[in-house]
């Protein structure tokens, strides 16, 4: 792609679930659980099932929630792109994932900054830059995370 596709929003991580709320370019919510992915648009009140029992989404959820182990991943220490931080590089072991996915890199940066870089087989990169905040979950967030 000549132009990166950029979206902004909040990642809410709770246990084994991730709620990805985008604010731009449009408002939407994606809920990742270890069994399924759900979607809710700004006009909808309820989540709709997008994908069920997908190994790729299970893998993304594991990366984003930190629920991974060396049985499924080849873990190694790497350096961040600007060599300022140590990162954890994860290579999938499952042949099914290897076919579509190359690596995930998790980096801890200063000032509560965190980076997740996902690279697929076509070398498309998904870079998630996060500012860690420790806000209390709102009742709406809690409700969303509890779906279905």
């Amino acid at each position: 792609m000549s132009v990166p596709i950029v979206s902004h929003g909040r990642f809410i991580v709770d246990g084994k679930r991730v709620l990805w709320q985008t604010t731009s370019p449009i408002k939407s919510e994606i809920l990742l659980t270890d069994t399924a992915v759900y979607k809710r648009s700004s006009t909808n009140k309820t989540f709709k099932l997008l994908v069920k029992e997908s190994p790729i989404n299970r893998m993304i959820t594991a990366v984003l929630t930190g629920n991974f182990n060396d049985r499924d991943w080849l873990l190694s220490v790497a350096e961040s792109a600007d060599f300022s931080n140590s990162c954890l590089k994860m290579l999938p072991k499952s042949p099914q994932l290897v076919a579509v996915f190359t690596s995930a890199t998790l980096c801890n940066q200063a000032n509560n900054q965190r980076q997740v870089l996902l690279v697929d087989k076509q070398n498309n990169k998904t870079l998630i830059e996060m500012n860690i905040s420790k806000e209390q979950l709102t009742p709406e967030d809690k409700l969303s995370l509890e779906h279905p």
Binding site: V51, Q96, V100, Q122
Partner: protein, 772 residues
């Protein structure tokens, strides 16, 4: 030309000649078309028909019959894989197994599927995408596209985005329709995870198309011998396992019932006639009747059901009747040595005709099982009749020097029977019948025509099947929808219309899922329509936001969107995904048939009702269809019984007068009603086999009436009817031990019916006296 007047020697010569012809025919037909005894219980009630639809349905059933599934399970994945490969190699070494598959290297991966569809991008739209285009609301379409982009590392998006900025193909491929999502491909093995165990799939196909009893047993025995050599748990399912069980049960029951029946028959004969020649005669009549029956089956059918053979054992009991009639006449009367059976010839003939007429009804039934039972019995009885009439005068008459006295028990029984008949027993009979029928009517739970209830399957096979289905997540129903058309495109267009209707049923929870070809291959008509929809959408600015997000200035649609290189059936069927669907479309006699498989059916009636509006589309449910045919046949059988009674009444009236004819008809009628009533007491509900049993009771009842009407209440007739009744009772009572409910039902009703027929039959003589 009166054969009866011929000398015993000439008759015997005639008998030997015709017997030789039959034996030669049997050997020749066996050599030309070796007999295949089929133990596939799913085909017990296979209805015969030669329409294309029947051919297609049989082909579909055949595919299911050939394919067998094994799952090798272990908590250690590598052990499960190693064991599955070892098992596959062991299976392959068996001669009876044609194909074994434990590795699946050619299964379509997401990458291969995406590459296969890429040339056809923008002609394939999901229903949702189509609705969004038609809604003319660019924001909604953009939101959908953004959701796709927002799903990280989605290969459907990453592999298609460059070629298709509309994301329509990514969306089309993201629908969760891909089969076998519980099975994961790993190093070529398909593995399912269930309760902390890894199960590796092994599929094999048996060599022959049918399920021969020997073949299925050999295969299953060999497999079961292999299983303990593996540490892993091995689950199995498939028709061969059911067939093997049916064949071992069938063979056991057939040999047990056959042997016991013959032994009882010979004991009865020895007790009644006490002469070696009587044993020889009875044995010869049984052997000949079985040979004749087999000859007819081998000539008329390609394969014989083992259940039909178990039923056919009853022939032993019926054919022996001819021996008893002849023996009683020869042993206990002063018959002419030259023509010893002259006096009983008429009753023998009438007996044969009435029984044959009863079974003839079954011969015209729409079910192979009944056709085989009927043909075997009719031809077998013809053999028995010819043996009695032509062979016995030569075989026995000259060899009986001293007539043995009648056994004292027969004399006593005859006296008791006389007393029962002489009393004003008619009132009691009527009273008892009314009471029994009234109680039975109160207990009657209706008719059970469900074909699945006619045979028992051991819980082990069922547990295995349930577990395999659970692990593989299979919820497929036996029902499917068959769509026909003159060309592949016509069929696809019809299927598309039909699946729109099915979508509504899924929405209302009448159905969980369905699987059809058009979910992955739209008709060319639809592809053209989609292309036009995309062109219109671009003209209406539907893709503007997407273009902006992706920073594209160039047109978003492919330049050749209006070309004619659409995705066609032959091309698709050769693709990695299409190959998986090859069994879902067929071409039979230049007509195309596509199959829509259904799963999680909650409301069949609603779907059937909707189908009425669709051209050339049929709901196929073999089990329901057969059960429905059984209901129709059962109703027809009841009418035939009535007609047979009227016909017999007319024949009897012409020969014996109205009164005797009426009593002669009442005897089997009352016996049938009482035996059905007793069957209701025991079974609660009746089935087709109880009704079929009624035909036999009618035939036997008329037989006995003829003997009494012809000969009066003589001791010789008592011994004949007693022997006949005891032999029938024994043979049909043995059937109660069968593990198959169908055989039990039949045995029970005939067993009870014969008792009543025996008790009631002398009533004819009472009226005969009154008449005289």
């Amino acid at each position: 030309l009166n054969i009866l007047e011929w000398s015993p020697k000439t008759k015997a010569l005639l008998w030997f000649s015709q017997c030789l012809v039959i034996l030669v025919m049997l050997v020749l037909s066996y050599l030309v078309n070796p007999i295949v005894v089929n133990s596939d219980i799913s085909r017990l009630f296979k209805s015969q028909g030669h329409s294309d639809i029947n051919t297609v349905n049989n082909q579909i059933a055949q595919q299911a019959v050939k394919s067998q599934i094994l799952l090798v399970g272990n908590t250690d994945k590598s052990h499960a894989i190693a064991d599955s490969k070892l098992l596959a190699a062991q299976l392959l070494s068996l001669n009876e197994i044609a194909h074994v598959k434990s590795t699946y290297d050619n299964l379509p991966t997401i990458n291969r599927i995406v590459l296969q569809y890429l040339p056809y991008r923008q002609w394939l739209l999901s229903d949702k995408y189509k609705r969004l285009l038609e809604s003319k609301q660019p924001d909604k379409l953009f939101e959908h596209q953004f959701t796709l982009l927002n799903q990280m590392v989605d290969p459907n998006v990453s592999l298609t985005l460059e070629a298709d900025l509309t994301l329509s193909l990514a969306d089309y491929l993201s629908r969760s329709y891909l089969p076998t999502n519980t099975l994961v491909l790993e190093n070529g093995s398909l593995i399912a995870q269930h309760n902390n165990k890894y199960y590796v799939l092994v599929v094999f196909e048996s060599n022959a198309s049918g399920l021969d009893i020997n073949e299925s047993q050999k295969v299953v025995t060999a497999i079961k011998q292999l299983l303990p050599t593996h540490q892993s748990e091995v689950l199995y399912t498939g028709s061969i396992f059911y067939a093997s069980e049916a064949s071992s049960t069938g063979q056991f029951e057939m040999s047990l019932f056959g042997t016991v029946s013959i032994l009882i028959m010979l004991l009865l004969v020895w007790w009644g006639y006490r002469h070696v020649s009587s044993l020889l005669a009875t044995l010869s009549i049984i052997v000949i009747s079985v040979l004749y029956g087999m000859c007819a089956l081998v000539i008329a059918f390609d394969e014989i059901s083992i259940v039909a053979l178990i039923f056919s054992i009853t022939l032993i009991g019926i054919s022996a009747d001819y021996s008893f009639h002849s023996l009683s006449e020869i042993f206990f009367t002063r018959c002419m040595p030259k023509n010893p059976l002259k006096e009983v010839h008429r009753s023998l003939s009438m007996g044969f005709l009435t029984t044959a007429a009863g079974y003839l009804v079954l011969l015209f039934s729409p079910f192979i099982l009944f056709q085989q039972i009927a043909l075997f019995t009719i031809v077998g009885l013809a053999g028995a009749y010819l043996t009695a009439v032509l062979l016995f005068p030569w075989l026995i008459a000259n060899k009986v020097v001293n007539t043995p006295p009648l056994p004292p028990f027969i004399i006593w029984l005859n006296n008791q029977h006389r007393k029962l008949t002489n009393y004003e027993s008619t009132h009691y009979i009527v009273l008892i019948t009314v009471i029994v029928v009234a109680i039975a009517f109160g207990l009657f739970k209706g008719f059970n025509d469900d074909v699945r209830s006619f045979y028992n399957v051991t819980s082990n096979i069922q547990v295995n099947e349930r577990k395999v289905k659970d692990i593989l997540g299979q919820k497929d129903e036996p029902q499917y929808i068959l769509i026909t058309g003159t060309t592949a495109q016509v069929v696809l267009e019809r299927e598309e219309e039909l699946t729109m209707m099915l979508d509504q049923h899924v929405k209302y929870n009448n159905l969980a899922h369905y699987k059809g070809i058009t979910q992955w291959l739209p008709s060319i008509k639809k592809q053209k329509f989609n292309a036009q929809l995309m062109v219109n959408a671009q003209a209406n600015g539907m893709f503007d936001k997407t273009k902006m997000l992706l920073g594209q200035a160039t047109p978003i649609l492919r330049p050749d969107i209006k070309s004619s290189q659409y995705l066609t059936l032959p091309v698709w069927l050769e693709s990695p995904l299409g190959r998986l669907f090859k069994n879902q479309i067929m071409n039979v006699n230049n007509k195309y048939y596509s199959i829509v498989r259904l799963s999680g059916l909650n409301n069949v009636t609603a779907i059937k009702a909707s189908l009425i509006d669709f051209e050339e589309s049929y709901m196929v449910n073999k089990v329901d269809d057969i059960s429905q045919q059984i209901t129709q046949f059962r109703e027809l059988l009841a009418n035939v019984l009535l007609i047979a009674l009227v016909a017999a009444w007319v024949v009897f009236a012409l020969r014996f007068g109205l009164k005797i004819a009426s009593i002669a008809i009442l005897i089997p009628t009352v016996s049938i009603v009482l035996s059905l009533a007793v069957s209701v007491f025991i079974q609660g509900e009746l089935d087709i086999f109880n009704m079929v049993a009624s035909i036999l009771i009618l035939a036997l009842g008329l037989d006995y009436s003829v003997y009494y009407a012809e000969h009066g209440f003589e001791k010789t007739i008592t011994i004949t009817t007693l022997m006949s009744a005891l032999s029938s009772i024994a043979v049909f009572a043995i059937l109660l031990l069968s593990s198959m409910p169908s055989i039990q039902s039949f045995g029970l009703t005939v067993f009870i019916g014969v008792i009543f027929v025996f008790i009631l039959a002398p009533q004819v003589t009472k009226w005969q006296k009154a008449h005289a």
